[in-house]
């Protein structure tokens, strides 16, 4: 008998007989609801509490703020998406700028060393965001691959205020994740990479970005 069959066989023929499933009452999760203002305030409070930097910007002037921040953080080059509107707008706005625009346009194997050592920052959009926990929701794809939000030391994320959901549960249900089918990788990001493994002292950027900068467009 294969290991698989042996294990399943033992589980199926339980000594104490079949089990019944209790009812799961999700009310304690679904009743968490806030209005638009509260959601934004909560999101900001939660994500700032885990060391993210939040800037509320308008849809018109957000690129100005981005330029300002790039200069302030002395970002020399910026990895941007090629198709997502955030990327298209960023590239157009920074065309004349000193910041070198990079693209994730080949498989990682071709430029691993460069990505790991020479990229200062990246910018991405998000799929949605979560007020309760101050989280960004991303489904990385070929335009905005997985390592784009992980390897560069600074990650700029652009969130529209109307993308805010109350809870992670609401994201899963209201966006129909199950029926849509899960992507290769889905991701929640809440703050920059951190560790407290050395005597409970927080340190940022242990493996991923040291800084997470969130631009909330209202």
């Amino acid at each position: 008998m294969s290991a698989r069959d042996a294990i399943l066989n033992r589980l199926r023929h339980r000594r104490d007989g079949a089990l019944t499933a209790p009812v799961s009452d999700f009310a304690v999760v679904t009743e968490k609801q806030w209005n638009e203002t509260e959601k934004l305030d909560l999101f900001q409070q939660k994500i700032e509490s885990v060391h993210a930097e939040v800037h509320r910007v308008s849809k018109e002037n957000w690129l100005e703020k981005l330029k300002e921040l790039l200069a302030e953080k002395q970002v020399k080059n910026l990895l941007t998406p090629m198709q997502a509107q955030v990327g298209v707008d960023t590239r157009a706005a920074l065309k004349e700028d000193d910041v070198e625009l990079l693209a994730y346009d080949q498989p990682i194997e071709g430029w691993k060393a460069e990505l790991f050592s020479n990229v200062d920052a990246s910018i991405t959009d998000v799929r949605s965001a979560i007020a309760e926990t101050g989280s960004l929701v991303l489904w990385p794809d070929l335009d905005q691959p997985r390592l784009m939000t992980l390897v560069p030391p600074i990650h700029f994320a652009v969130v529209d205020a109307d993308q805010l959901k109350n809870t992670f549960h609401e994201v899963i249900v209201s966006e129909g994740w199950v029926s849509e089918g899960m992507p290769t990788n889905a991701l929640l990001i809440s703050g920059p990479s951190k560790t407290a493994d050395i005597e409970q002292t927080l340190a940022y950027g242990v493996h991923g970005p040291k800084e997470l900068v969130v631009l909330v467009r209202q």
């Binding site: 290991a3 304690v28 290769t184 493994d197 005597e199 340190a203 242990v206 991923g208």
Partner: protein
């Protein structure tokens, strides 16, 4: 226990830990901090209790359908392009992972944190077969540099303070001696980044495996888990068979309780959900993803209605953070992969009660663990059950599934309890015995062994409550009679 675990006696290890002021101080400080943080993460007791109800129900529902859900998980993962393997034992799981590595001609494995891989001693196994396995979680990395094992399931290096880690990194990796945690962390980042670039295989654990969608969920703060599961061309996830949940929505409340219970964080930096290998046209992610499902005694625990609750565990570590015993002795003294209360109810199954015989009794049954458990595992009750198993003390459990049942039933103890029962089930015998004890109370020695090492001996009363109450009712009767006689 697998091949190379050296199981020493429990008491000498306890002695070593408890008399080490550094260990005592490191754990006390860490546990105090973790308890405070958890408390702050649950401002509403009502929300906490209702979420615990929900989480316990979700885990029980998953267990109630375990074989079906495992098959569904396998089917969905397979359809997504993930290869699923099954292992009856830790050694089998190690072998499966080695075979995948060999097939890929892999020489270097980078690891994300995985307690199951600790349980099966994967690093050791791979190294014996010429493959280097490097831990990438900072705490695990430190523990590996020190050639130790984790002392906590969430914070592996919690037994060390900054100076100790600085010295260790200096000695093993040539960093400067420093108390600057930022510096030490940045150095580790650099050392590990080079290894990530070159690793042939990434091995990770799994926090929740979602049957409905075929999704492997990983909870982490550092990003090493994401690197492990994204950068190397092959990703092997390894997990116990009990980690499956039915629906994707089930993970939301479990995640919320897991991070708040563990470290008081409302969420971790990353929640990473992996459903397939790199798809056509995608630019990163592994070309191959494997899942190794490990039984290793879990299907045995599954047989028993009461013991089953052990399998609800989501490995948050809150039970150890709140345990007065763990706080005093730290994780290594237990001598097993999983320390603390959860270790005391899990290890006797994985290692057998004959091996883990001292674990169930090493608890004052204070109940702090059960009170904070996010999935409401009745840990104290299970400790009592395992005490019963270890002395085979209940004939109703004679057909028990527990390995090593009755391992501690020896010497005079069973006879003493039989004598105790005889005396205490007859009120008359008891009163005679206790009455005699009070008469000879002067003869009780002031040295009562272990008790009087740190306490004075208790003093028997001159008269028992039974005697006082009897005297009282006789007096009352007499005075009533007298009252009656006077009328």
């Amino acid at each position: 226990m697998s091949h190379n675990q050296v199981v020493q006696e429990f008491h000498p290890r306890v002695h070593e830990a408890i008399t080490n002021p550094q260990i005592r101080a490191n754990f006390r400080k860490a546990m105090d901090g973790l308890m405070d943080k958890r408390q702050l993460a649950f401002p509403s007791d009502d929300e906490l209790q209702r979420t615990r109800e929900l989480a316990a129900a979700i885990r029980l529902r998953a267990l109630s359908k375990l074989p079906e859900l495992l098959e569904k998980l396998e089917a969905n993962l397979t359809a997504n392009g993930v290869k699923v393997h099954w292992a009856e034992t830790g050694d089998e799981a190690c072998k499966i992972i080695l075979d995948i590595c060999n097939e890929k001609n892999a020489k270097s494995v980078i690891k994300g944190k995985s307690m199951v891989s600790e349980e099966m001693e994967l690093n050791h196994y791979l190294e014996e077969h010429g493959i280097e396995a490097l831990e990438s979680d900072l705490g695990e990395y430190i523990v590996q540099l020190a050639e130790e094992t984790p002392s906590h399931i969430i914070m592996p290096a919690i037994h060390k303070n900054t100076d100790q880690i600085s010295d260790l990194m200096h000695e093993k990796t040539g960093t400067n001696k420093s108390r600057d945690v930022e510096y030490l962390t940045a150095e580790a980042r650099q050392q590990l980044r080079e290894r990530f670039e070159k690793a042939d295989v990434g091995v990770s654990g799994v926090n929740f495996a979602v049957a409905e969608t075929g999704t492997l969920c990983l909870v982490e703060n550092e990003g090493n888990g994401r690197l492990t599961t994204t950068v190397p061309p092959v990703h092997i996830a390894v997990t116990g068979i009990e980690k499956v949940v039915e629906n994707l929505e089930d993970v939301a409340p479990l995640l919320s309780l897991l991070t708040r219970s563990a470290t008081g964080q409302h969420i971790t930096t990353y929640f990473n959900m992996i459903s397939s290998p790199r798809k056509e046209g995608e630019l990163d992610g592994p070309e191959e993803v494997h899942l190794v499902l490990v039984d290793s005694g879990r299907s045995n625990i599954y047989q028993d209605d009461e013991l089953l609750d052990t399998l609800r565990c989501i490995r948050c570590g809150a039970c150890m953070n709140h345990c007065p015993v763990y706080t005093r002795i730290g994780g290594h003294a237990y001598g097993y992969t999983y320390p603390g209360p959860i270790g005391k109810i899990l290890m006797p199954h994985l290692a057998g009660l004959d091996d883990a015989k001292d674990l169930p009794s090493a608890s004052s049954l204070c109940g702090a663990c059960g009170e904070v458990c996010p999935v409401k595992i009745p840990i104290p009750k299970l400790l009592v059950r395992l005490r019963e198993e270890s002395v085979a003390g209940d004939h109703n459990h004679d057909n028990s599934v527990v390995k090593g049942r009755g391992a501690k039933r020896k010497g005079m103890e069973p006879l003493i309890w039989k004598g105790w029962a005889k005396m205490h089930k007859h009120g008359g015998l008891y009163r005679t015995g206790t009455g005699l004890a009070t008469v000879f109370r002067g003869l009780v020695p002031s040295n009562l062994g272990a008790w009087t090492n740190c306490r004075t001996a208790p003093k028997l009363a001159k008269t028992t409550l039974h005697q006082q109450m009897k005297a009282r009712s006789q007096n009352n009767a007499a005075s009533q009679k007298k009252d009656g006689g006077d009328q």
